[in-house]
């Protein structure tokens, strides 16, 4: 996946929508509570609007914006140094890794999650033999268990179904 003008615009519009939503929600609080959040979100929204105008309508702008525009022009003309990015399925896999770890953690608890994630990752992506992957997973979960026992002051998280 590589950054494109369309993607950059989408990101800016998304941030603008979130900022305006933040501003609107802040208006429901009393004046003292909303003073600084409204000021900051208002300025941020203004900066986002200026950015969108400069990058899409202006020829040259603030530092970095100009360079970015130049890079996009080269890309669109097929002159970019790197016109191929990482395949989308690989990007989705990369983004799914933390989500997968999170789901394992939430549903199974911390020790099973560590064991499953480490051993599966090493077996699937590290091309490790199954017994090496399982051993590494077991050692990792033991280390985490020891950490909770000796250092951390919270009880082990045992998952949504087993936690009180």
């Amino acid at each position: 996946m590589r950054p494109t003008r369309r993607g950059d615009n989408a990101m800016a519009f998304l941030l603008l929508a979130l900022t305006l939503g933040y501003f609107a929600l802040g208006w429901t609080y009393d004046p003292l509570t909303r003073a600084l959040p409204e000021l900051v979100s208002g300025i941020t929204a203004g900066l986002l609007i200026v950015y969108l105008l400069v990058t899409n309508l202006g020829k040259a702008g603030l530092a970095g914006v100009g360079r970015q525009q130049m890079a996009w022009r080269q890309d669109e003309a097929g002159q970019g140094a790197e016109t191929k990015g990482v395949p989308v399925p690989v990007v989705l896999t990369a983004l799914a890794l933390p989500i997968a770890y999170l789901l394992l953690f939430l549903f199974l608890g911390i020790i099973p999650a560590v064991f499953l994630f480490v051993s599966t990752y090493l077996w699937k992506f590290g091309k490790a033999r199954w017994y090496v992957a399982l051993t590494a997973g077991a050692l990792s979960s033991f280390a985490v268990y020891a950490l909770f026992l000796t250092l951390l002051k919270y009880p082990l998280y045992t998952g949504i179904f087993r936690s009180p």
Binding site: T33, P37, Y51, L62, G64, V90, A94, V114, V118, L122
Partner: protein
């Protein structure tokens, strides 16, 4: 003054105190690699052991642990782009690029040496200027701290990688995120959507773990998996030496000296905070450098400046703690509780009637820094090997540390979800060049900015920044720097576009 300093030193140079100092340091190093389990946890776990100890021995144990975790957070910032503490965010900007260039050993040894020299300079300056520092301490209050925080935020946003606009936008988003939770003035929950979890706001370690550690591992996975030139490791090998890093500090002696003095001044201002000092030091070093364009791309001064400031400010930061009972950060709050346990009452009298006690603290900090930094210099070549680990080991290891670290901040499972979400957000921010560092700085400075803003307005009115001369000067400096940066930037794209058109 000299006599008090000598008494303080003699009370520290006892076998029990030195032993406690070394134990504290080893303990601090042990826990410092865990994001979310930093200095405060290391110190809190040692608190029960100080009962019955003498004051210098107890302080040596706690301060030793604290000092080691400070340097430990520098190590993770430089090697893995994961700031272990708010003040270490700045080290990611140049320390990590140095690691990617195969100069991790140089960066680590420069960091340790800068901290060592900065600590020594800071203590020496502090000792000599103790009577004058009272004046500075009393001249700076909420309006000045507010203006300094805004200045620091603006400077970093201006000089960050990529567009100035994007830097300022990222900083604004960071500030907006910091306002989530209870309003510090009115106590009204803001942007919580009725969630009890969000009532306490988003925790800094959780956000930092996600934005840096998790997103870095996503990037590393992509680098190792797809496209031409895929790399299995962050760094193939490190070709730098310890002596390069040590030499760098003495080559850039002006930066070292200036930032150490800056650190002393920043440290004695109550409530200013280490993150503001570190950001200000970085910005100042960049502005005064002959090659400001190198900053953010692996300039060693970008490592030296914040480390020198941090080290010098630690000793100086004891002054407001002891004289006014105002802790600069949570670790100092814990020290304050240790004072109470040991029967020491902070107050103005400490600087006049109990100077040996004050100096014993300063000597402990100095000795702690010497030991921590020497250990850091010696261990740098081994520590640098972390960055050369293959991605198949690094990715599951760092993600596991991220999960455990984010959970251990408050013991709430939701924090892990927040960290993972921030990880994905951080990936896209990096992709589209919105500075994650600026967001984190805004996030960290947000509470300081808000609390000082409200205090300033209630004391001096809405135009407080006009009524205070120092505040006005800082505001003018900020606006002037912003204007200069915009003018400079407007000239650059035209030249570059012209060059781009002219090139074949």
């Amino acid at each position: 003054m000299l006599l008090a300093s000598l008494h303080g030193l003699l009370s520290v140079l006892t076998p029990e105190t030195l032993e406690a100092l070394i134990l504290g340091i080893l303990w601090g190093y042990l826990v410092s690699f865990m994001p979310g389990v930093g200095g405060i946890v290391a110190m809190a776990l040692l608190l029960p052991f100080i009962f019955g100890m003498s004051f210098p021995t107890a302080m040596a144990l706690l301060i030793g642990a604290h000092t080691a975790t400070i340097f430990g957070s520098s190590i993770t910032s430089i090697l893995l782009n994961v700031p272990g503490a708010a003040k270490s965010v700045v080290l990611c900007w140049d320390g990590y690029p140095m690691t990617l260039r195969g100069e991790a050993v140089r960066a680590l040894s420069a960091s340790a040496t800068a901290a060592l020299v900065g600590g020594i300079i800071g203590v020496l300056f502090l000792t000599g200027a103790l009577p004058l520092l009272n004046i500075v301490m009393n001249a700076v209050s909420s309006p000045e701290i507010f203006a300094l925080a805004i200045w620091g935020l603006t400077i970093i946003a201006i000089f960050s990688e990529g567009s100035i606009l994007k830097g300022l936008i990222a900083a604004g988003i960071g500030l907006m995120l910091s306002f989530v939770g209870e309003d510090p003035v009115t106590g009204v929950p803001r942007y919580t959507f009725g969630s009890l979890f969000l009532q306490t706001g988003i925790q800094f370690p959780v956000a930092a773990i996600g934005l840096f550690a998790v997103s870095q591992m996503i990037k590393l996975f992509l680098r190792s998996r797809g496209g031409a030139g895929a790399r299995e490791r962050l760094v193939q090998e490190d070709h730098s030496t310890i002596w390069q890093g040590i030499r760098d500090v003495f080559v850039h002696w002006r930066t070292e000296l200036q930032m150490a003095l800056f650190g002393v001044l920043a440290g004695i201002v109550p409530g200013l905070g280490a993150p503001v000092a570190a950001v200000g030091a970085y910005g100042q070093a960049m502005q005064t450098s002959r090659h400001p364009e190198r900053f953010g791309h692996g300039a060693v001064e970008g490592v030296i400046a914040p480390e020198a400031t941090d080290a010098a400010s630690e000793g100086a930061g004891m002054l407001p703690l002891i004289a006014l009972g105002i802790p600069a950060h949570e670790q100092q709050a814990l020290l304050l509780s240790a004072f109470v346990i040991l029967g020491v009452a902070p107050g103005p009298g400490m600087l006049t009637h109990h100077l040996p006690l004050v100096f014993s603290l300063i000597w402990i900090i100095l000795l702690g820094y010497i030991i921590v930094c020497l250990l850091g210099i010696v261990a740098a070549p081994r520590l640098a090997k972390i960055a050369t680990l293959p991605s198949t080991i690094l990715i599951p290891a760092v993600l596991t540390i991220a999960v455990v670290g984010s959970f251990s901040v408050e013991g709430i499972a939701y924090d892990v979800a927040v960290a993972m979400c921030f990880g994905i957000v951080g990936y896209f921010m990096d992709l589209y060049q919105y500075s994650r560092a600026d967001l984190v700085i805004g996030f960290v400075l947000g509470p300081i900015i808000e609390s000082t803003y409200h205090v300033s307005v209630s004391l001096y009115g809405d135009l407080f920044f006009v009524r205070r001369p120092i505040t006005l000067a800082i505001v003018c400096l900020t606006l002037a720097t912003l204007a200069w940066a915009i003018l400079r930037a407007r000239r650059q794209p035209s030249e570059e576009i012209a060059e781009g058109v002219a090139a074949p």
